[in-house]
């Protein structure tokens, strides 16, 4: 088995990347200083993968209902002889799963019975069991999950922004789908998605914390089932840089308007994925971090409060720089951010602000190594974009002021931006 050692001496951290004969990639990061071990078995498959085919089968692209990746995540916990939670229960492990735009992850955290828990994880994810009855039963639970998000103003303001920014890309659809779309999901469709995306060649196992590599390998060798090699073709959509609409607004029961301001960016080449993300994060910090003049002014004028934040949203075929918060006048915040961007482009970025943003971002990425969950999640994310978990820390040290100024020429442009606002619904009588 091919074994690559990734290491960062400054962080005193290393992990092994192993290509298992079954096709699964293993990322093992043992560290006995922790009490717990944290495993993630993930597939490179999320809510955006709605139209696909298997290469070489000679079939047309096929579309599946919105929300099916998330539905599949729920149903995989069930097997013919009970559910996975019951199997974990006798081991004391704490288990969960989540579906995002571009991945589905099954995880557990355990301090005892670590290897048995690993066996449960690998086994149940490889053992689908869907019937008409079990699929129907889940509609009630997921229907309530969707309604919970309908009532969540932070979720609404965020997804409405993505729908304003993207015309075609499936990042604009809700991860859990809608009550209508999930009604179309059948056991047959679940098997079709499972057999395509849960192929071990499309998956990864990340394991971090208190375990021994040899003992983990024993379980892995015993539990993984051989898998035919397959290549998935995802239908790529033609997404123009232009946004769908520049402004969207909805009324919900909130106390003060919530906003999300987004800039739609040209996605970077896959090999520059992390670099692009880090550059945009650094620019966001220079622009609106708490240490920026703009933050200070907006705060003084009562236009933002400490809830203000920024993030980069990125995945296969999409990249957006997002600023979010609460404000009595979100449009004014939007205008001021655009103004400040123009000023930075015109006058250049002050060196001291660049240096500070660099230190702050370095600290932020080192912090991820404080927890086994942080390490395991980063392992999976970095792997799916073809990189190592140490890349952000290493890239940040090397970034220059010129890199950031160059980036600012093509990023966070007014014409490719939008604002989403949730305004308070009128008081009921």
């Amino acid at each position: 088995m091919e074994k690559i050692v990734h290491e960062n001496q400054k962080l005193g951290s290393r992990y092994f990347e192993i290509k298992h004969p079954t096709g699964l990639t293993l990322l093992l990061c043992p560290d006995q200083k922790f009490n717990s071990a944290y495993a993630i078995f993930g597939t490179n498959y999320g809510s955006v993968d709605t139209t696909f085919r298997i290469k070489g089968e000679g079939k047309e692209f096929e579309s599946v209902p919105e929300g099916i990746a998330h539905y599949l995540e729920h149903k995989l916990f069930e097997s013919e002889d009970g559910d996975a939670f019951a199997r974990y229960a006798v081991l004391g492990a704490s288990a969960n799963a989540f579906t995002s735009f571009d991945k589905t992850c099954y995880l557990f955290s355990a301090t005892d019975h670590i290897y048995e828990s690993l066996e449960v994880l690998l086994d149940f994810v490889q053992s689908p069991y869907f019937t008409k009855e079990t699929v129907e039963k889940e509609q009630g639970i997921i229907g309530q999950e969707i309604k919970m998000y309908d009532d969540d103003p932070n979720w609404q303001v965020y997804f409405r922004l993505l729908r304003a920014l993207y015309k075609e890309h499936p990042v604009r659809i809700d991860i859990a789908g809608t009550v209508e779309s999930i009604a179309q999901i059948t056991d047959k469709l679940l098997y079709q998605c499972y057999n395509t995306f849960y192929n071990l060649n499309n998956m990864v196992l990340a394991f971090a914390g208190n375990f021994e590599v040899d003992k983990a390998m024993e379980v892995i060798d015993k539990t993984l089932k051989p898998c035919p090699k397959l290549t998935i073709e995802r239908k790529t959509v033609e997404e123009p840089r232009e946004v769908c609409e520049h402004r969207t607004e909805v009324k919900l029961p909130v106390s003060m308007p919530l906003f999300c301001i987004g800039f739609k960016e040209e996605p970077d080449r896959p090999e520059d994925f992390i670099k692009g993300q880090v550059l945009n994060e650094m620019l966001q910090d220079i622009l609106t971090a708490e240490s920026s003049p703009l933050f200070g002014e907006l705060y003084k004028e009562g236009l933002i409060n400490m809830e203000f934040d920024s993030e980069v949203v990125a995945g296969r075929g999409y990249l957006a720089s997002v600023f979010e918060g609460e404000s009595k006048d979100p449009d004014a915040v939007y205008a001021r951010i655009l103004e400040e961007l123009n000023a930075l482009r015109k006058n250049g970025i002050p060196k001291d602000r660049f240096e500070r943003a660099k230190k702050a971002l370095y600290g932020k990425y080192v912090r991820l190594f404080n927890s086994v969950s942080g390490i395991a999640n980063e392992l999976v994310s970095a792997y799916f974009v073809g990189d190592s978990i140490y890349s952000p820390v290493e890239l940040i040290e090397a970034i220059t002021l010129e890199d950031v100024e160059e980036r600012l020429k093509t990023t966070m442009l007014r014409e490719y931006s939008a604002i989403s606002i949730v305004v308070p619904a009128e008081e009921e009588a």
């Binding site: 704490s94 971090a289 702050a360 370095y362 600290g363």
Partner: protein, 425 residues
């Protein structure tokens, strides 16, 4: 791995508790004032950590203060308000990189502690009042925090239930105060609240990091040697809640999903053994994905996405909450009560108890893997005066038997129901 846990008095009623653990790449220092929670002082106290976060005599400019935090590798400075039983905890914390990982060999631990002490001991108070501009901003923010509680429907509904259950008692008071009391605050009033806290409130400083903070301890001792203090201890009302008919409250809102919250009181006395039994019983009932509530109300009946039970250990109450369709609310309530009856009758397997204990083991053993969890754990231990490590508590929990669980279940009575419903069509 058990941490090295040391508690020293560093000033009159000021304690520094250090928890040393090599696994973290950051250090965390958290300073906590413990104040009695009451309607009169909740708002003025709550504004204090928000104002301390804004600056000090040495760091008067907010933007420059934040720039200094960036220099400390993006150190996270936070002013926060918490509630532990009848106590309002006013908190100022700083998390920064451990010295081993900085790029320019800065003595970052001392720099961080000095910054915190400056913010804590030299606030921007002039002529007996907080600096007006900052005061206006933070007063508005505190009012916003109170009003925006409605944004998160789940926690809003839980808070409303607690307020109804503990009406007229300290625990029923909102930790931020009310909109009205916040609106009436003046810079002088909050400055005297600060004076009262710094001279009379017990102060608990927690440090979690990789090295014994000897140098840091000295800095804190020196700083507090200049503060004159006369400490007033906080008290917790420990009696059992009086018997009464079930209180019901309903609120209507534009919603697609309703929220149901049920509060249960116990007749068990306040002793560690009873608490252990209650803790295990509540976890078995609704604290895990194989619990009674999850397996039946969610999985079997498909009534909701979440239905969970939790314990408030200071008030010894059980809170059950669920997000359900408006039309299913009565059905969900009946199902929850039916599961409780089953536990009361002892109609559950010994295996459920054993699995619940395993799950609690995992939770206790994981505490030491998180800076935040360690801080929360030890602050809670200090508050209750138990001073037990997670592993010691875990060992004790294992003495809980099935009979204890049944007894704990039978001690519970439904006290208050709060429902958040959509508008009637």
């Amino acid at each position: 791995m058990e941490q090295n846990f040391v508690r020293t008095e560093v000033g009159e009623g000021v304690y520094l508790t250090s928890i040393i653990d090599q696994k973290f790449k950051s250090n965390r220092i958290s300073i906590n004032f413990l104040a009695p929670l009451n309607e009169k002082t909740a708002a003025e106290n709550a504004l204090v950590p928000l104002l301390l976060r804004k600056g000090s005599k040495e760091h008067p400019d907010f933007t420059a203060l934040n720039a200094y935090l960036d220099e400390l590798y993006g150190a996270i400075l936070y002013g926060d308000i918490r509630k532990l039983g009848d106590t309002q905890v006013l908190n100022l914390s700083l998390q920064c990189l451990d010295e081993a990982y900085v790029l320019e060999k800065e003595p970052i631990a001392i720099m961080a502690m000095e910054l915190l002490l400056s913010l804590l001991l030299h606030p921007m108070i002039e002529d007996g009042g907080f600096e007006k501009e900052s005061f206006g901003q933070e007063k508005q923010y505190l009012a916003d925090l109170i009003e925006s509680e409605i944004n998160d429907k789940r926690s809003y509904a839980i808070n409303r239930m607690i307020q109804a259950m503990f009406q007229g008692k300290a625990y029923g008071v909102n930790k931020f105060g009310t909109k009205e009391t916040v609106d009436a605050l003046t810079p002088k009033q909050v400055a005297s609240a600060y004076e009262r806290l710094i001279t009379t409130a017990p102060i608990e400083i927690l440090y979690v990091g990789s090295k014994a903070p000897e140098a840091v301890t000295q800095v804190v001792k020196d700083a507090f040697s200049k503060v004159e203090r006369q400490v007033v201890a906080t008290k917790e009302e420990l009696g059992t809640l009086a018997e009464r008919a079930v209180q019901t409250e309903t609120q209507h809102m534009q919603l697609s999903q309703g929220k149901l919250v049920m509060g249960f009181r116990t007749s068990l006395a306040n002793d560690p053994k009873a608490l252990d039994s209650l803790r295990v019983m509540i976890a078995l009932f609704g604290g895990t994905p194989f619990s009674r509530l999850f397996a039946n109300v969610r999985e079997k009946m498909s009534l909701c996405y979440y239905c969970a039970a939790r314990m408030d250990r200071y008030k010894r109450i059980m809170i059950v909450d669920s997000g359900v369709e408006h039309s299913n609310m009565e059905k969900a309530k009946a199902a929850i009560l039916e599961q409780l009856e089953i536990v009361k009758r002892g109609e559950f397997e010994e295996e459920e108890l054993q699995n619940t204990l395993l799950s609690l083991d995992n939770a206790f053993q994981s505490v030491s893997d998180s800076l935040h969890a360690l801080e929360d754990w030890y602050l809670s231990q200090i508050y209750t005066g138990e001073y037990k490590s997670p592993l010691e508590t875990m060992e004790r929990i294992h003495k809980v038997t099935k009979a204890d669980v049944v007894e704990a279940a039978n001690s519970l009575t439904l006290d208050t129901v709060f429902a958040l419903k959509g508008e009637e069509k």
